[in-house]
Subunit: 333 residues, 2 copies
């Protein structure tokens, strides 16, 4: 039997991680002889390159396909521009430019294309991150489901976020979780909710806090469950989260309960999960609350023990928060 | 009636140019107040950015969709890596890194995926252009036709190609034309030919000649007809091509005659069209012949007159070589 690519590979969960590992490990990453490779951070949100003047160039890419592509509070254009700006911003760098590559199905409505392009342009303009190069392919009907957008991005940093995460460090969320996920599901399953996507660049927040933190990441596909597990795995640490502290809007809680979906596995598109030294935590929280009053310190890094990597302290005791896996996570981005 | 995106927009011809213009003109390109925008060359193969140390950063993107995705002499992986390296190389810069974003249809055969990834890796390795960042999306069956690849790229130059093109300058082709186009069509229409794709990075050639030339471009979609018209338009010049000098393999000529297709409008994926001062033409030709003995000086730049922008001198007299338009060009990339 021929082996095929299965959809579970793409859900932001365990299979995806295995699938990605199997081939990214093969890729040519540059010449490491004599340790002179100027590139590093291959598995991070952005790869980084040491420029001749010691500045650091950050480079990232993401392709966006989402159904529905116009949803409560936004559209695929929001995700594409904000997502790529965020992949640069969470490294601690200033985005300097984006590329925009559109793959459009023949027959796509020009009115909708204009809504998407206007969104892209509005965000680029508002955050002063220019779109400097691009490419458009129109493909035959049936060759692509409506529209796919790839945005790559470059940025420059004096210093990227790379301080060692240690037991005692605090974990902070910049706002309520799972709003993007619920907004998308509400359109897809046609239920009513006031929740709109949280999609937006987190650049302004990152500018305020980047000198005071050790680590930042936007919890997109797989939600905070995915990211917390990734961090715990990569740094061999235990993470303990206080469930009551996790910021979540009432409507989001209700909707996810009704749907029987774990909000911790749902995507966010304008939130940051931050790790910082405990002495900076209150100051970082204060900065973040200027942008979103729901920002909260949600937990702490501890030494690894046998209990498990990510622990959720609930009112009923403690449980493991595991990596989302398989089709448990509805595929929405 | 609702206006829709039509396939002709994507053929590399006239409609595509109009379609692209209408929306790229809207895009935020950076703050031009005080003339301080560090970005330029927005409509070139790569956009360019002045780095703090005066080096120039080049940035480009391209999405690749091709049917068939495995064809005589290569596959979509060849196109994706070579194409993006070439978009950087023709600016006169050294590519420093690529991004790789895969969008794969559920059910895609892993064996074929491995062929494509091996190709990508082999070329990256051979030309020492590392793949530093990436993204993979697996989408539901029917959401994409097999596979789409986006490769973006960054490069650094001390100086990019920007000397003014003037009457008297020579036009040079680095090898036989339309081989990629014919290889693809042979697979699609199932006819026998020895022709294989010309897809490859033109980086080695560019390194040899970039200090002696004014302009280089890889004639991909729309072939040399498209590029020559673009140059003539952009610089308000007339271009006169000697048809007998255009390098074309006998089998390519035969195949295009049989199919009733203009080889000048067919895609090349490993050729460069070069413009240089006439005093450098022989030296550049000599350099190019080291890589491909079919390299040839094919024409000359002249002052604009009323006759038309691109003139093809044939054995029967002269004719206009016009911009490919509509479905005359079979869509193959």
């Amino acid at each position: 039997m021929k082996k095929i690519v299965s959809l579970e590979s793409g859900n932001g969960g365990l299979e995806m991680a295995q699938f990605l590992n199997s081939f990214t490990n093969k890729l040519y990453r540059g010449n490491n002889e004599n340790g002179k490779n100027l590139w590093s951070n291959f598995s991070n949100d952005s790869a980084t390159y040491k420029l001749p003047n010691k500045d650091i160039l950050c480079f990232t890419t993401d392709s966006y396909t989402v159904s529905p592509y116009i949803f409560p509070g936004g559209n695929i254009g929001d995700l594409a521009v904000s997502g790529t700006i965020n992949d640069l911003a969470v490294m601690g760098c200033e985005p300097i430019g984006l590329s925009l590559s559109l793959i459009i199905e023949e027959g796509f409505e020009l009115d909708e294309l204009n809504i998407i392009l206007d969104t892209i342009n509005r965000i680029a303009n508002e955050f002063k991150v220019p779109i400097v190069t691009g490419d458009t392919k129109v493909v035959e009907k049936g060759s692509v489901d409506k529209i796919i957008i790839n945005t790559s991005g470059v940025g420059i940093a004096k210093k990227i976020l790379c301080d060692k995460i240690l037991p005692g460090d605090k974990i902070i969320l910049s706002g309520g979780i799972a709003e993007h996920g619920v907004a998308l599901l509400s359109k897809r399953f046609d239920f009513e909710t006031n929740i709109v996507t949280d999609s937006k660049p987190v650049l302004l927040e990152m500018r305020e806090i980047r000198d005071k933190i050790k680590f930042a990441k936007d919890p997109t596909r797989g939600g905070i469950a995915s990211i917390l597990n990734e961090i715990a795995d990569e740094y061999s640490l235990k993470i303990v989260i206080d469930e009551e502290k996790i910021p979540i809007k009432k409507e989001v809680k209700t909707a996810t309960k009704l749907l029987g979906i774990d909000p911790y596995s749902l995507a966010n598109e304008g939130r940051i999960l931050i790790i910082c030294d405990s002495k900076n935590a209150q100051s970082v929280l204060k900065d973040l609350k200027k942008f979103n009053t729901m920002a909260e310190i949600i937990g702490e890094v501890e030494k690894l023990d046998k209990v498990g990597n990510v622990i959720l302290k609930t009112t009923l005791g403690s449980r493991l928060l595991s990596m989302p896996s398989g089709k448990i996570v509805p595929r929405i981005c």
